[in-house]
Structures are given as C-alpha cells and as structure tokens.
Amino acid sequence: MINLQNVSKSYSHKIKVLRQVNLTIAPGEFVSIVGQSGAGKTTLVRLLIGEERADEGRVIIGDWDITKISRHEVPFLRRQIGVIFQDFKLLPKKTLEENIAFALQVSGGSQAKIKKIVPSVLKIVGLEDKGRRYPHEISGGEQQRAAIARALVHQPKILLADEPTGNLDAINANEIVDLLLRINKFGTTIILVTHNKEIVNRLNRRVISMDHGQITSDQAHGKYLL
C-alpha cells in the first residue's frame, strides 16, 4: 500500500509544487494521475522513488516510511519500484537483452539469475525474438516495452509509468497500456502519470486529478476531467 499523509514539497520559498497531499493507493490498484504541466505529478513520482524528499508529511510504501530514507537505502527502494519514462532511457550501444541484463548486473544479480530472468521478461512484453536488436533497430512502442521489461527484472510490487505514451502514436500507446493492464493482472500496482485523455477514458479505472500541487478529484472509475 502507498500512503501519502499531508505531503508538501517546494523547490523555493515561493513555488510550492505539492500542497498537503493525502493519498492512499491499495496493492494491485491501477491508478491514473492526470493534470496539466506543473500540477505536481512528476514531483509525486520523484517522491515515490526517493529522488526527492517531502518538506512536510510522510510517504509510506508498504510498512516503510521513506520520508527520511537514507541514501544507502534508496537503491533498495528502487528495486521495489519499477519506473518507466517517456524517453525510454535505454542505452543505445547495448542490445535489448544487454539493457535488461544491465539492470540486474548493477544491482549484483548473478549470471544464472540474469540468464533466467532476461528471456522471461522479454517474453512478458512480447519481445522474445528481438532481444539481440539495438534500440535504434526497433519502433518506439517496442523500445517502451523493452523499458517495461527492464523495470520488471526485480519483480517490483509497484510500477510507476511517467508519461509512457508521450512519444508514441495511438496504436503503440494502446499496446503499452494493454501491457500495463496485463502486468496489473499479475498483482502489480500500476501508477500511470499521463496527459493522454483517450487512454485514461478508455481505462475506466481510478483517476486522480491534480492541479497546482493539490488533488482536485479522486474517482474510482474516472474520466479525464481537465
């Protein structure tokens, strides 16, 4: 479970990007967070992965209060939370297999574990036959799927998707959302941060709307209201 209690965050005295945010996300939920630029969505994501610290309030993930997390604990938090971004963040000089293996290598995964997990996550995202290709040899949608595969290597309980369809056409965007829905069915909590109205409306899942650092609506089966 993710629980934010009266969380505020500002980058300067004048600009407060999050104001007294209270939010609870149950395990296995699929939640879309929508809002205009500057609404505080990305700051919320950064707080959840330990990239930023809340000025006030508490951020709790499971039984873990990450508000005052030490820098030594951050890597362990990141292994619990998979993250994907609009720009995929794949290494261009590594094949898809190598990109995914890299995530395991740098967190101390054994060769045996890498050999077992890399093909299985590639299969989950439907890229089992493209593991030896480089990112520039595949489409944007496939690159995002590879990024999702990499995010899954630690079998995270939470998958944070920050504008994952921002660089994709409608067909590829829908494929990515379908993939996220499939992953959600396995029990992984999905937090989708997006501007894409069609996707949010098609999902018909919980929608949290943000504006000026505050939650303005929280609907169990919501639509894109902004």
Binding site: R78, R79, L91, F102, A103, V106
Partner: protein
Amino acid sequence: MLSFYRIIKFGLQDIARNAWLTVVTITILLLALFSINTLVTVRLISDNAVGAIKEKINISLYLKPDTIESEILALRDRLASSDKIKSVVYVSKQSALDNFREKYQNNQQILAALKELGRNPLSPSLTIIPEDFSQSNLLINELKMLDSPIIESRDFSDNTVILNRINSITKRVNEIGLFIIAIFIITSLLVVYNAIRVAIYTHRQEIEIMRLVGASNYFIYLPYLFSAFIYALLSVLIVIAVFYPLLSLLQPYLEVFFMGYNVNILSYFVDNFGLIFGAQFLVVLVINEVASLFAVRRYARV
C-alpha cells in the same frame, strides 16, 4: 566477487572510452613524479658533493718535535672537551712518518731524500674534526687564538666557502623543487578531478539508469575510483621505466665527477626502490582518490 569483477570491467571501460583524457591525466601525473624524482637525485648529488668537500676540510695543529707525549695528550683532551669539536686525532711523529712513506711510496726521489736526512723530520700533530662543519669558521678562529707553548704551527686549509655555497645551492634547489612539486600536485588534483568529471559526463546516461534500477551507490562510484587507481599505477610504472635508464646514463658521468668517492645513485634507487616508489605511488593514489571522490560526489550524485 561478481560485483568486484563488474566494477573493474566498468572502470576499464571508462579508461578506454576516454583514452585521450587518460593519456593527458597520466602525462600530468608523470611530470609531477618526474619532478619529485629529479629533486631526489639532485639532493643525493649535492649530499655527496658536500660529503666529499667535508672530507677535505683539514684542521691540524702541528706540535714541536721534542714535545713529550703527556703534554700532547693533555692538549688533546683539552681540545676534545670543546663542544665545537667532535674528535681530536693524535698523529705521533712515527705515524706521520709512516703516512708520509705510504703516500709517497711511488716517488723514489722523495723517499731517497728522506733516507738521506737520516732522521724523522716530521712533527707530531693533532687533527681536529669539527662537530658542525657549517660552524667550522668559529672553531678555526678559536684555534687561531689558542695559546700553548707546544704548538709549532697551525694548518687551516679552509673549504667552508665552497661548502657554504653548495649548501646554499642545495637549499635553493630544494625550495624551487618543492614549489614545482606543489604546483604539479595541485595540477594533478585538478586534472584527475576533471578526468573523472568527463568520464562521469560520458557515462551520465548509464549512471542515470543505474540509479533508476537500484544500483548500489558503491557500484556507481567504485569504477571511477578504480580508474583513479589505474592512473596512479600506470604513472608510477611509467616513471620507473623512464627514470632507471636515465639514471644508468647519468651514473658514469657522476662516477667521473666524484672520482675517488663512492657515489652510486642508481644503486641508491635500486636499494630504496620500495621506499621511493612505494611512497610516490601512495601519495599519487591518495591525490587521485580524493579528486575522484569529490568529482563523483558532485557529478554522479551518489
């Protein structure tokens, strides 16, 4: 063990991907090490030169030939009690004659003249070794004023001017050398810092992904510290490879210059290899690691 292997692999990748930067960094470190070793060599040469000149400083009191030995020994003890004198050597008439014969053993004319004389013409003497060679002027002045009826003549062949000049040149060389070394150390710090900063910039995408997927902090920064270790190791190995042939070339010239003295800089460097180059490696390593740590903390945000 697996992580250790991967850290080394990533560290070597850093070095290879920024090959020119590695060359520049190692060159600066080499210049710093070369200046240190040159300074050590200059110091050794000047120490040998000073030692050679000190041996030539001769302070002797020649005594009347008919002086009885107890009076000579009393004067010797009196002189030895001075805090400016390290020791006083008594050379008897017979010893002086023996030394003379040994010195001129190949000169038959002189030996024949001595034989012709039919007696020992040499005087007993007291040879005085100063406590501090740089203060030998004061001692000479004191000995000039020494009043004793048994003293026949005084010999103060004074090399203190040359000695002082060498001491002054050595001091100056050391000062300039230390200044140069300080500049090289500061330059090395900045160059290594910059090299690691550029390496981090080259790997910024990988570092971002490493942090994203939960790489341990040590896994992110250790490859850069390993690169710094390699810089230190390579620079010391290269300086060893360059310096020893240079010393071998210099050694014959030094032997000619210090003819009759045992001056062997090459063997000094060989005998003290561990101390000289081990210390240099440790100093360069500490400088590199400190610079790298600052660069990593600032630019890799670990």
